[in-house]
Subunit: 333 residues, 6 copies
């Protein structure tokens, strides 16, 4: 087996699920979801450290690493009820962004090509470019909509002299045609970036960006309803990209470019669950977890739960389970 | 005086209240509340450190340690208006869970036996077993209902080969008959534990568990209303067990098994106040504060305030004070 | 140029805005806002460290320090659209509170005297006394109302034998006549201080203090509406004093006297924006940021954004911009 | 395979060496060294956290986890040149010290019984009792001398009412006859424990304890020379027990009972190398690494290197390599 | 009893020794050493936090707080064999340096006046002025020599416009005549302060300052020998002032102005022991422990041991014990 | 002026020295030393964060940032007595190692070309390649010897598929002919990397590497004597490359690949001083300071002092000052 395994640290898998090797198709044939590590932080514009994100997201959990996680509310065990395997990391040298994203795009495409959902653990947001491109190459350019949770629009043009970095993937994805600007839904933007020129470009692409002020005024669920409707219009799948900095720094301090005033962890988890229950998710990434800046591992715990919430939603959707959010946990009472 | 004093560190009391010695009944005769430290972390399944919880909860406050804490909103000074004394710690060797919980149960029972409310500062949640048993021995098995704030149900059966640990106290309490399953109210559950078998057992006991999804959908106050009604049905007192991990890790990072997506600190404080104002609380514990994982002491500050909020509620209830939450702080305006 | 520059560390300005020198009036003639550092923590009653607050607030931002910050929601660039300059720090020896506040009052008054808004970066809350006095000396004693965000009333009389400290500025301001007690609006109080005697004094002054219980019961916007009405009644300007401990310690751990159960960062940012958009702010301070207790710099990030939110509101108000909170970020869609 | 694997966290091995299962003898037949994790902190008298020691010691290294570590100075690759395998952890519930040490003793004995050297990764120092007993059961009671690096003598009698804990293993070992008191060599003692009674008991056992004052006055190598001579006198093997708190807290902060004024990391590494090169080591443990109190992982890095230094010494001794400490690294020059 | 108790936090004493009240002479009559807390950080020129030094030094120890500490090497129990009592803190408002040092000087003088040794726990080094002055007022101006361990000479003239601060006490002491410049011994100086003018002043006073280069070249013991000779020449007592920053930041990170390249913790402990064994110490302070910057409490542990080493040396000297540094710990062998 | 300024954070200079612009030769004409920031961490193989090294090294000092640092022992003020200017950072995008090192090499060469000493603040050790190449291009390939302080040889060939990274610069420098292998002196190597193949290559190049074992056995000064002799043999200048991980992690925790058992901070400072006093240094870099892993800033303080020690040595050498290490600090006594 030629599996690369983790780039940094010991060889382990997401909460103990089975290993697969992307060079050996039989190891992930029939998988519903394939986890791929993208330990790259060469594209970040400020605090680095997300190279250790895949390792942290895979293992930050206080429960046994036994490949089983029964979801209390949804009553599904995503790691058992559907087939989830872990391909280890793609080798991504942080000093060479172009080679690294090329390698990742190939890996993601391999997963999509067999009909599985790639769940890519970042890494900085640079990786959304190869992630969504790899998916779009299989499902068709322009056939996948994007649900993008982030404090930042990530639609910059050139930074530090480069076309590639964690502030630019969304522009590159629209420019290449991999994704349609008018099927691009952004949730949680706020702060002081980008400037007017970039916002004009975004408007021209007909992107739909829900800034925190609108979310506060209208309510998150109402914004999600609107976003879902756009996402499903003439698209056959959804890519979900979760930058943990969409949460308030109080809930996700371990990240590179924290922007105060974001979602609570509860809001993010609920949103991810709704999306994976209600929409046909065909790819996903979780990015910008930077362990060196985390304390008490709370950001890594959150990202691990974002992954599990997504997997549980995907599993429940596949199994056709019904869920009443207002109902009691225990049936008998 | 044979008082044991704190097991770790210097001899100090909760915010400077008077000392008592559980071996000398006259030292706590007439007390309304007796504080007992339970510095035990031998039962935790993951991050330890709660042995330093009693010390941290007692002293983490920026105000003078003068045995006085006037509550702004309730206009009562619990440490002055009722009699609160601190018995120091029970010796609890973390390497011997059975002996330790035996000692604690005796200590708690002594407090209950003189008509005072034991307020036990943990320690990991293993201690809820001796805490509630000690109270029930006085008030009658099955006569005390449980209000349990936690991310976890704590109804496991055997862990690491032991019947005793921080994931199992609630099962043991129901099995022994100390508490009735159908008067067991759980608030704040979430995540990926326990599994279906345990949930079935819980349903059979007719426990009422409010998972965060239900709380989010219905509102916390509505859930509390329902819980209060059950709690008061054919029971003469309420035991309040507060695991700080019921709060989101952003608000309570210093704990052993943090589960993202919990209550805010504000929600917990308001809930504890309501309970102690509206219900006949006969025992309480505050558990799972782990100082080694705390930063800027924010979890210890929170737990100290949970204790004060409870004491203030108990005091206001005893004094028959009225409180209008929507009214202004200052009367004159 | 005799400019003092920062008292601790290298000479830098708020996000790269231009320097000015308070001893050289031409350097800040025509300024809309002058930033003044007040690196003083000699008045704190518990955890120190706010002496490093001005340095942290000035520079804790992941974007280039280029003197430009386009506000996503308001579509204004406060550092470009109005004139904001940074006067460096006032020398404030923490061991001599009286001399230090004297120097600061002179500096603030110089700014007010040329018609600019002083934005003072603390430092502990002791500085609110010279800050608001310096402003009132220009606008008239009793002519400026106070909007005070804080967990604490800061109306103590004598502490540690001194009339001056971070728990007393609001009493001194009312006693001197600089501010009127019945135009004193406090938002976010909670906890166990001050005691009944001080609350009576506050009531006699006809202060209006919104404790968190009232805010929770009525909603923050409703409380702000009431506060705004009082603030504008027979006053010609508003002083905004933001103690970061008004936020929950989960959102602002880096502070000296954290009190659990506060506002979220989002609530604080929205409130500051509303105030600066809707009211004639004539002075402001941001206090109690204590970097030694901060982690992942989240409190400093928050305070930097409080400053920017205020500046953006001031700029939008000056430019007469309209803002619909429920509207979309991008105009075209 | 019934291998237990790690008790906390994911299943990984020491720097990627092969797994073995103590229940399946063929998996470690022919091994030179078998690594055993002892994740127990129920016996500590102060700061806990050593339950995470085995996991930290196994993986805290910046090099690839590839089962190869060529030693620069000794020119041997211990993980390749001799056979080192990792048995995972022994299940040790921290709340039950007696059951836990029983299980560990059995595991260690299994390793000794096949002629391999057990290298036990703690855990608190309680485990030295089962570690050395398990070895002595194979090599003969009284036939193995002890080289004990520690700030503390660990010869206490009863603590917290228990015979077992991290301050008592050395007394229990001598009392049981597993080890001879007059072949007990202690290096690095200092501080204020134990008291005169215990010191008298130690003297009666004819223990040889090198306190830091003597080491400072005579030099560490001179003390080691003396210790080696005693150790080899009528004994056939040496057990090496390294408590990381033998080092100064500046070099090993992540431990439970740090005592200032200890060895430097360099001194400890050199001593361990000398011992394993010059003496017939038949068992070893590395204890008291407490990750929650570590910063920048420096204590875990040190403990990992202590293990490697020992393994390299054992390998070089087995291979009969010669080593000139004063010679150059590169042969050609 | 009017005892002030600790200024910050709960009322506790150094490792559990008895309390005394400086206003009630009978409470410390016959004491050998009286511990006085000086929680003042208003004089620091950089990182504050030493206000929490007294609390940290008193309690940072993993052993029971039982008023007993048998010294392994010296075989004396300073807390039992001589009379050590703790007077609590002197109220020292950090915002008023002049009033604060006045209060401290009175407290220290009271202790000296009854023939006891004041052991003052700082606080920043500002306090050396009142500490040594209070002692000199009793023993005679110019009759006490100074042994000063520090990275810095602390002979500045005016800083931040003040005569008093942590960089100036040694100049003030010489200027006032309390201490003679030619009986002023400084150990451990290094770095880049003060400048030539101040060094000239120091030379004029005939101070003897051992910079680290000289200590490295000659050996610490040789320098101490020379210093002791000067100290005893026509003086009747020695004041020992230990600034923890004399140690390398690796050994004492929790301090305000760390200067790399200092003594090891072992060197400091040995020096303090020698001084208290060999010289007639009549006063002492331990300063510049800043808990907010400490990690794993290693600086507080060190300072606690500096105090114990001094007390043990004083006790051994009083009892006339002999000590052979090169001898074995246990007598029998 | 087109000066780039710092890549991350505010525009400041090393301790307040004057700015220069490498595009404007007159701004650094006549400079003795030009400081250049190299904020690049794209080449690190493990923990990143050195991108913030230049900022940290420039400003981590508790003294005023006033462009003056009188050296206590050498009695020279390097920032005043010679001309030191700061060119700001070279833009180095961490995601593009080749472009980044190209830009840095040009910058360094510009400095060398005017006869000044470039002092490059890293950044990871990747930068030694452009640093030494830039210097060698001016002084002649093979005409500059290398004094390399490091735990690691940095002579790897290809890592993560790249020729460039922090483990390979020394091989590239020798391969290109910029430096001669037999004038390559390495001090402080230790640990488990590189393997035999690379060591053979190093031996073939006739490198002279002093591993810690040899340094311990022979003494550091003796090793330096030997190294100096080689360095001066048929070379006209020396490049000094200091990787802070040459120090023990206890003294320099804030680095990416800490290797226990290194030099003390004192040893490093003394060595750097000797080198700059005794050898013709023509270029220097200080690398691998990683602020996210630093605590209490001790590594940054150390690196700042390494820079100052070097500058002071260079200044004293230029001024022809004599220095007796064993002499007293103050002349008069």
């Amino acid at each position: 087996m030629t599996r690369y395994g983790p780039q940094y640290g010991p060889d382990l898998t997401f909460l103990g699920v089975d290993r697969c090797d992307l060079d050996e198709p039989e190891t992930y044939a029939g998988a519903d979801v394939v986890i791929v590590g993208a330990p790259f932080d060469g594209g970040t514009s400020h605090r680095p450290g997300t190279r250790f994100g895949p390792m942290a997201i895979r293992q930050t959990c206080y429960l046994p690493h036994d490949g089983s996680r029964p979801h209390l509310a949804l009553r599904v065990d995503a790691l058992q009820d559907i087939r989830v395997v872990d391909a280890g990391d793609v080798e991504m040298f942080s000093g060479d962004v172009e080679r690294s994203i090329g390698s990742l795009e190939e890996a993601v495409h391999k997963v999509s090509a067999v009909g599985a959902v790639p769940l890519v653990l970042g890494g900085d947001h640079t990786i959304a470019l190869p992630d969504a491109t790899g998916v779009a190459r299989h499902h068709g350019f322009g056939r996948v909509s994007m649900l993008h949770f982030d404090a930042h629009a990530d639609t910059g043009d050139i930074e530090f002299g480069s076309l590639y970095g964690h502030g630019q993937p969304m522009r590159r994805l629209i420019e290449s045609g991999a994704l349609r600007g008018d099927r691009f839904l952004q949730i949680g933007l706020r702060g002081y970036w980008p400037g007017p020129e970039t916002l004009s470009w975004m408007a021209e692409q007909r992107m739909r960006s829900f800034e925190m002020t609108e979310i506060g005024a209208r309510g998150l669920d109402s914004c999600l309803d609107e976003a879902f409707e756009i996402a499903l219009d003439d698209c056959e799948g959804v890519f979900l990209s979760v930058d943990v900095d969409v949460c308030d720094p109080g809930h996700a301090p371990g990240t590179g470019t924290p922007e105060p005033g974001g979602l609570s962890a509860r809001q993010l988890l609920d949103s991810v669950r709704r999306i994976c229950l209600e929409l046909p998710v065909v790819g996903m990434d979780i990015v910008e977890v930077s362990p060196p800046y985390d304390h008490a591992e709370i950001t890594a715990f959150l990202a691990n739960r974002v992954a599990l919430e997504a997997l549980s939603g995907i599993a429940a959707r596949k199994l056709g389970l019904k869920h009443d959010p207002a109902g009691p946990l225990l049936e008998d009472r």
